[in-house]
Symmetry: C2
Subunit: 686 residues, 2 copies
């Protein structure tokens, strides 16, 4: 990694000498592409990737900005991702009549490929370290609030300069909790069309019950194609297709965008997560899960409308359940405490570094401030309320220079913002109303009914009556109304009688106040983690990786099963096994295979591997990541982790923790012999 020396680091590097060498002997890490674990790969696997190797892999990957990963798998723009990553789009292009999410889809020719209403795919093309420039904007005399403002302004300037110069989407990514700042440039693809999707019944076979379980039998795959100038894009960097996949124990690589990990977190920060944040989020998720389940039960159409959000909520709930189980294990916190104390003691033992030990205290202080504002955020965030808030804030922010604006309103982010804001995807007012009523009721519970803002929001009515009035009276479900308001500036917003615009104005000050407080706390943490990171660098040398930030990372590991409750689980399952799994559950929903699989059962090889597990270090956001071998052939498609991997937000283990993938053979076999998609199968890897 090209790393800018800052004062702290030099002082630390001389002070610390013992390394936690054992911690990285396993296949741990979500590595940035400009600092791959070359030494480890060489020593453990005798493999030395070249810079061409890593550039080709990096440029073969694309990020789905709705929250997922993917890869180019043909020169003609085919993009492979998960069905559950594609689900957002599958739902948006569906209607009561055509349910592409449930029933699947196959475009017979290019002209049948269906354009996604608002997808943005990002291909990472370069990385530059801008740490010193970002840090130079801040000095020690500034308060946390001032430093935060200055830092965000500098980040905005760097992004805007880059955008103006290159025309590429330019994001400064904060790494190591504030230890490093890298400028990532992306090529944007916004004409993205659906080519093929299987039925939900096989893509999500076993449903919520099997989610995060293993053995698993899911064809969680979907294929899109990117277009440029109305034609299939010509893609230079794409992955070749491996029909044999990887052998047991073979080294594989996963390139994708893990969303968020918290491995650098101090003990105080972990305790805040354990005692406040995670329980709070889980209460919120369970509440939404029950609400959406009730809404879904009312009719098949309701079920269709709420399906995507309900899946997301259940998926998160299960992920958080695993996270809190890790946090609540006293042994985990005790080990973290031991490690932390050892490092702090070492820093304190040298007068030159003693003051850096204050960084842990600063993180602790930040957690106290987090606790003060915990649960105070007013969250009325339905899709329509979100649109209203964006319009209201945009009118205000656009009057300022780009670098002074709230992050999402900066020039560098404008194309992505508009892609989302003006999306023609359907908005279901019945569902919006039910969710908003519950969010208003929840605000009333969190703040108390005597809170002045809550009273104004209610306007003397019950949450249900008020939500009906707000959603029913709003026109923001039409793109035209949004475009009109977006172009009308502050005068237009002030003149608007749309009840959701009026609501968004009412809550704007509160929202900004909360954002401001959060940003101050984040700056306190950034400064502290910058110091802590340097201590870690000094401790572990160059071979370390930053926490996940939904930016491109490389993980690696081997294909292998594991032992659970005294039983050895296999490295892979087969397509034939899906039928046994169906029978074991008496073909009851969600263990009912789609008709297509039964119809074509004789046409495909039952021994074809369907899903496999590997030790690669992944987390949510990696869904859709390609799994490749040393020759950069696609051998699999990440779609899940097992239950044991759910603690990997906080630590990695290769004992039982596994990432789960769809096998490349199964995808081709299914395309050719179940879905009649030879047109697509023959394009793969070419």
């Amino acid at each position: 990694m090209k790393r800018t020396s800052i004062g702290v680091r030099i002082a630390l590097s001389v002070a610390v000498c013992v390394s936690f060498a054992t911690r990285l002997s396993a296949d741990e890490g979500m590595w940035v592409f400009n600092n791959l674990p070359l030494g480890h790969l060489k020593s453990k696997y005798n493999f030395e990737p070249t810079s061409e190797w890593s550039e080709h892999l990096m440029k073969s990957c694309v990020r789905f900005n709705v929250g997922g990963s993917a890869s180019f798998v043909s020169s003609s723009g085919l993009v492979l991702t998960n069905h559950h990553v594609a689900a957002d789009t599958l739902h948006k292009i569906s209607s009561e009549k055509n349910n592409y999410y449930s029933d699947g889809f196959l475009a017979k020719g290019f002209e049948d490929e269906i354009k996604a209403p608002d997808l943005e795919l990002n291909q990472l093309v370069s990385i530059d370290d801008v740490t010193s420039r970002i840090n130079s904007a801040v000095n020690e005399k500034m308060t946390a609030a001032e430093a935060g403002d200055a830092r965000r302004a500098e980040i905005s300037k760097v992004e805007k300069e880059s955008l103006d110069k290159t025309g590429l989407r330019s994001d400064v990514v904060t790494l190591y909790g504030g230890g490093r700042y890298h400028l990532y440039r992306f090529k944007r693809f916004t004409d993205v069309r659906l080519v093929w999707a299987p039925e939900a019944a096989i893509a999500f076979f076993g449903g919520d019950a099997d989610n995060f379980e293993y053995p698993r039998f899911d064809l969680d795959a979907t294929i899109f194609r990117v277009y440029e100038d109305g034609k299939p894009a010509k893609i230079e960097h794409f992955l070749k297709w491996s029909d044999n996949g990887a052998a047991e124990k073979e080294l594989v690589f996963v390139a994708g965008n893990p969303g968020r990990t918290s491995r650098i977190f101090t003990v105080d920060a972990l305790k805040f997560q354990r005692d406040k944040r995670v329980p709070y989020v889980m209460d919120f998720l369970r509440r939404r899960e029950v609400l959406l389940t009730l809404f879904s039960q009312r009719s098949e159409e309701n079920d269709r409308r709420a399906r995507d959000e309900l899946f997301g909520v259940q998926n998160s709930r299960k992920a958080y359940t695993g996270m809190i189980q890790g946090l609540q294990d006293p042994a985990f916190i005790a080990e973290k405490e031991r490690e932390e104390k050892s490092l702090i003691d070492k820093l304190k033992s040298n007068p030159k570094t003693a003051k850096f030990a204050d960084a842990w205290k600063q993180v602790g202080d930040a957690q106290k401030r987090r606790a003060e504002i915990h649960g105070k955020a007013l969250n009325l965030g339905t899709r329509l309320v979100g649109i209203a808030q964006t319009l209201v804030q945009m009118a205000e922010e656009d009057a300022k220079p780009s670098e002074k604006r709230l992050t999402e309103f900066r020039d560098s982010n404008r194309p992505s913002l508009e892609q989302d804001l003006f999306s023609p995807a359907p908005i279901y007012k019945d569902l919006e109303q039910v969710v908003l009523a519950d969010l208003i009721a929840r605000a009333l519970e969190m703040r108390g009914a005597d809170d002045e803002l809550v009273k104004k929001i209610l306007d003397g009515k019950s949450p249900q009556a008020r939500a009906a009035e707000l959603v029913g009276g709003s026109e923001l479900d039409t793109v035209d109304a949004r475009k009109k308001l977006a172009s009308g500036g502050k005068d237009g917003i002030n003149a608007s009688k749309d009840p959701l615009i009026v609501l968004a104005k009412l809550i704007d000050a509160d929202d900004r106040n909360f954002t401001k407080q959060s940003e101050e706390i984040e700056e306190m943490e950034r400064q502290a983690y910058a110091v802590i990171s340097e201590a870690m660098f000094a401790e572990k040398g160059e071979s370390t990786y930053p926490d996940a930030t939904f930016s491109l990372r490389l993980a690696f590991g081997t294909v292998e099963g594991y032992e659970e409750n005294g039983k050895q689980l296999p490295a892979w399952t087969t397509m034939g096994g899906a039928f046994d799994h169906e029978a074991a559950h008496k073909a009851k929903d969600p263990w009912k295979l789609p008709e297509s699989w039964h119809t074509h059962r004789k046409n495909f090889d039952a021994a074809t591997p369907l899903n496999f597990v590997s030790t690669a270090d992944i987390i949510g956001g990696n869904s859709g990541s390609p799994v490749v071998n040393k020759d950069l052939e696609l051998v699999g498609l990440i779609f899940d982790g097992n239950i044991q991997s759910l603690t990997s937000n906080y630590f990695y283990s290769d004992k039982q923790s596994r990432s789960t993938s769809v096998h490349s053979s199964a995808i081709r076999e299914a395309l050719s012999n179940i879905y009649g998609a030879d047109r697509i199968a023959s394009e793969l890897g070419k």
Copy 2:
């Protein structure tokens, strides 16, 4: 009502003169049998029930102590209740092989009737007012804690004297929040056998989705028989059977045991419910609902094991949803505030009554104390932990004289306590373990992981590992182990190595401390509500009813439909309508009628009324209540209220709020023409 004058009341009765006459013009009220609304029935319906009429109805009713109502419907001991009230027993007598809950049951002869493992049915036989005796134990010099102790001791003495004298179960019931104390004597029936139950698919047709909805199509009925000395009991008071049921607009009566209402609550008490208690309970319910749903998904047998609790949790969650919607409506609280202020102003305007206005402040102070201990109770209450806690506390309490013991350990309650403690009903350790792990995790969240008691409970392990150890190592799932510990006294408990006994000892002090604090707050409220009740009596005259207390009450109203969203809903549905309802939902679970209904579709009259609604004032606990006409013929069986009735914890309205019943004709028609149960059908009402 025979009412003891106390000083407060005399002072109040001269001071207050305007009455809220309008509030009782509708068919409001859950009336105690020694103070029926005779004037209202006479003036509105020209009906004058005699004392024989009310005695016969009172003695025809039985209470299911698991939480429900029922009635005698034959001289030979037949008892009619809901399938969902019987569910507790249906599950307990079921196994992986025989699922009586799902599949239904019919005893061909007496010898096939299946004994319930732990049911206790109570028939109310007399009511005496003991207010002055209970109040005489308390004086103004006592602190709330002392007064509470003295009052509970006096209650215990009254109960024990009555038990010793009559041999009847004797409970002192607190009415009007502390305004009155009545001694209720019950005949106990503990040999209760299952005679007939339909399939869950028709008893709970529409499942959680249709629960509290209307129109409804449920045969939510089950028939037991009480035995004495091994023979069917000879019953003097039982209800005749009406095959025609009630006509539209006809006056009907509901006699049952509404569980709990909060209509006397002051504004401060309601706000505590709205802002703290109800949201807290709902979080708990949603958490359990998601947990049990996940457990159920794993297998059909898991689903069977968790079914009863999951139904209870979903039912409560839906009920609480309705309650909080009422509380969160600003108009409701505003109206309560107006009423309360008017009454307090009136009291203050007269020097003789001015000091009684302090009662509202005292309730407010009690709410502040409630807020202080809110969420602090350590709840690890699974069935096994509950058994362990009972055994540990019993050993301690039995060393004291009866009146000094915790309420449940008094002599008067001993038979009921042992009926429950030594129940041979199966306990599923896998389910226990999952629930206990979650309760331990929750305790950790509520109190923080650094809480000393929490640390001791965890014993250095994760909640999951600890729960496995506790449940796996305990023998309390066997009745023998429980009996041995119960007979071993304190020495036996102290010597026990059973990990759940050790746990129960560990948390006992904390539990007792919380109980003590709760009791003090309750005494503050009792004293205050005694004064408030007198103000109400003075205001409203004799014609008032106390909040529900799971004791026998009479409600009344007329059979009539209502308007919803501009549509008139019918007073009743039909058996044929169930098939239309099935078709409308494509016969998807939970809208799939059982095979028996399809097989016998041609054998019964599709026009037979199935469910009907009336304006009678009911709430949870009323499930299974007989609905009778003026001639005391059974015309229906309460099983639900509609969505609009869910606010009736706080107020009654006859506009849309309705109680829902199974029609008497449908029960007989189904018995004879679907279930081949002529033996039972011919006994009904005879």
